[in-house]
Amino acid sequence: MSIKTLTMTAIVALGTSAAFAEEVRVYNWSDYIDEDLLKKFEEETGLTLIYDVFDSNEVLETKMLAGGSGYDVVVPSGTFLQRQIQAGAFQELDAAKLSNSGNLWDVIQERTAGYDPDNAYSINYMWGTTGIGVNVAKVKEALGDDVALNSMDLVLKPENMEKLASCGVHFLDAPSEIIPMVLQYIGEDPDSHDKDVIGKTEEVLLGVRPHIQKFHSSEYINALANGDICVAVGWSGDILQARDRAAEADNGVEIEYHPFAEGSLMWFDQMAIPADAPNPEGAHQFLNFILDANNMAAASNYVYYANGNKASQEFLEEDVIGDPAIYPNDATMQNLYITTPYPAKTQRTVTRLWTKIKSGT
């Protein structure tokens, strides 16, 4: 091979790798980051960041299973991550490229290892609980001043829901979270995969169904903040964001978030790199950027979700680290439960039950 050809090949090779390195595509949940961080990442690395959002694990999972999503970093929740790892959708992380991984919090790492053994495929981005968001004034107006705002009775007892219906109640459109919650309420194992046990939730949910205005997993943030609805069963940080949006708008709406007194679901959103990511190098750079204590703290301070980054805790604002709705105290922590993915047959039962509850058929 002549020197000329060699140089040409080298130039072409450099050219292509440079072209690949220019972009990192991230697919994350909606309302889930401080957008200043995205600019900061671009400035620090010189990479172009393409940041898209979704609002349901199902949408992400379908893209992962179809393959060729074109994303370099995606953020599935624990149970979904576990199943997608089994399907071969992710690549193992290269520890050498994640110099900040020492910042991770062992308490959370131990729990996420249940979904991702040895945490080989993912890092924790944020975690939270599924609980209840209330418009304090409207709920007290409907149910009296001494109502327990953190009880599942509020949303699962028909006589309460009847009174709340006129001011509007939304539930998450996520059977994998609502069904465990109802199981917990009726004293069954929230992580049950037994069809008959799962079937018991039908009666409870159908009892309150006529009073639920909508099942949706992102609309409730604005709906709560605007005062369109008065109760939402939703994700901790989303409801806290609604609280802040209402406060900013100064519209007289006061929102509170509570994990359920009966016990709440604890979930983990994990950052992982798809097996066919076009730019795994850039993906690792993004993960390492997120693992930085300051950056992670900035994200949590902005979206009001707890993170799995021990080192970031000293940079967290007092209304984040000090809020038991975000960083639960030990008593609440004892009360939290986790779930595991449903096998395909059980999944079908769950989806069918969910359709029946939502649409009445």
Binding site: L65, F215, N226
Partner: protein, 316 residues
């Protein structure tokens, strides 16, 4: 589809072979179009509908393995079956969803016709110099994204939305009406979105109408209303039919409007399809639902066209 070719037959000056080529090309274009954009995708969906679910990428099996040659192909076909179609008949969810979609589509088509016809009539009767402006006004909403327009309706129809605020201010109602997240909102959204598809074909058939026909009818003793009923309506029939098809067919499979404006109780086949595909990760059943939906749409259209053809032949 052979008709364009016939017209070319009496052309002069070209060689016979060239003539044949042109004919073949003219006939081929629509067939290639149909093959590439309808039949190929349809067979891909049909193939998936005969497969089984698997936790893999892609999430179904079998996949065609050409490296094993003929054995691979026969092996592939032997694994296909109609299990998923049988499944559709075992659960009443599916036919209920089909029926409910057809019902919503029929009602909204009638509503769109009732709103669209007077508008199209008004446009066709307007002074000639106004017509391009009116036409522009009908098309103008397309310049904004469809999604944004549906979102705008959420702002109008919500409990704290503009409509309720105006009605409360006028004193017509004392508590806000719940419109958003109900079927009413779905109908409003559909009629609004699909209105131009109804107006444009009706307008084009009305515009071409010879107005002296109405004068003749009136000279012969028809009242204005009767002339409208006996002359205008039958002459605009092709436009009405085209408009109804353009509205009804996409509405049956509609997903965005019911999921944004409808409540969780709004049962439509588009949503069922979404759930099979996304929640159950069951692409084969989702594809079976899609194949049946296609048959539901195609069969009445074919029957209708046959009927039309017979009528024209009988007329001649």
């Amino acid at each position: 589809m052979g008709r364009p070719g016939l017209a070319v037959m009496d052309g002069h000056g070209c060689g016979f072979a060239g003539e044949l080529m042109r004919r073949a090309l003219l006939i081929a274009i629509p067939y290639v179009w149909l093959l590439a954009l309808f039949l190929v995708p349809f067979f891909i969906v049909l193939k998936i509908s005969l497969s089984d679910v698997e936790l893999a990428i892609p999430p179904y099996t079998p996949t065609l393995d050409l490296s094993q040659g003929w054995a691979g192909i026969t092996d592939f076909f032997s694994q296909l079956d109609f299990e998923n179609f049988v499944w559709l008949t075992e659960d009443d969810l599916y036919w209920k969803a089909y029926l409910s979609s057809v019902k919503i589509a029929l009602i909204s088509t009638v509503l769109t016709l009732l709103v669209g016809y007077p508008i199209a009539y008004g446009m066709a009767r307007a002074p000639t110099e106004w017509r391009p402006t009116l036409m522009m006004l009908v098309i103008l909403p397309f310049w904004t994204s469809f999604l944004i327009r549906v979102y705008a309706w959420m702002g109008i129809l919500s409990n704290e939305g503009y409509l309720n605020q105006i009605l409360l201010w006028l004193g017509i109602i004392s508590t806000p009406l719940t419109i958003l997240n109900t079927n009413t909102a779905v109908y409003i959204g559909i009629v609004y979105t699909y209105l131009p598809f109804m107006i444009l074909p009706i307008y084009s058939s009305l515009e071409r109408m010879d107005e002296s026909l109405i004068e003749a009818a009136e000279d012969l003793g028809c009242s204005r209303l009767k002339a409208f009923w006996l002359v205008t309506i039958p002459l605009s029939r092709p436009g009405i039919i085209a408009g109804c098809f353009l509205v009804m067919i996409p509405v049956i499979g509609e997903f965005v409007i019911p999921s944004l404006l409808g409540g969780s109780g709004t049962l439509m086949i588009g949503k069922v399809l979404w759930e099979e595909f996304f929640s159950n990760r069951d692409w084969p059943v989702a594809s079976a639902v899609a194949v049946v939906l296609l048959l539901i749409l195609v069969i009445p259209i074919v029957l209708f066209q046959r009927n039309q053809q017979k009528q024209t032949e009988a007329g001649q």
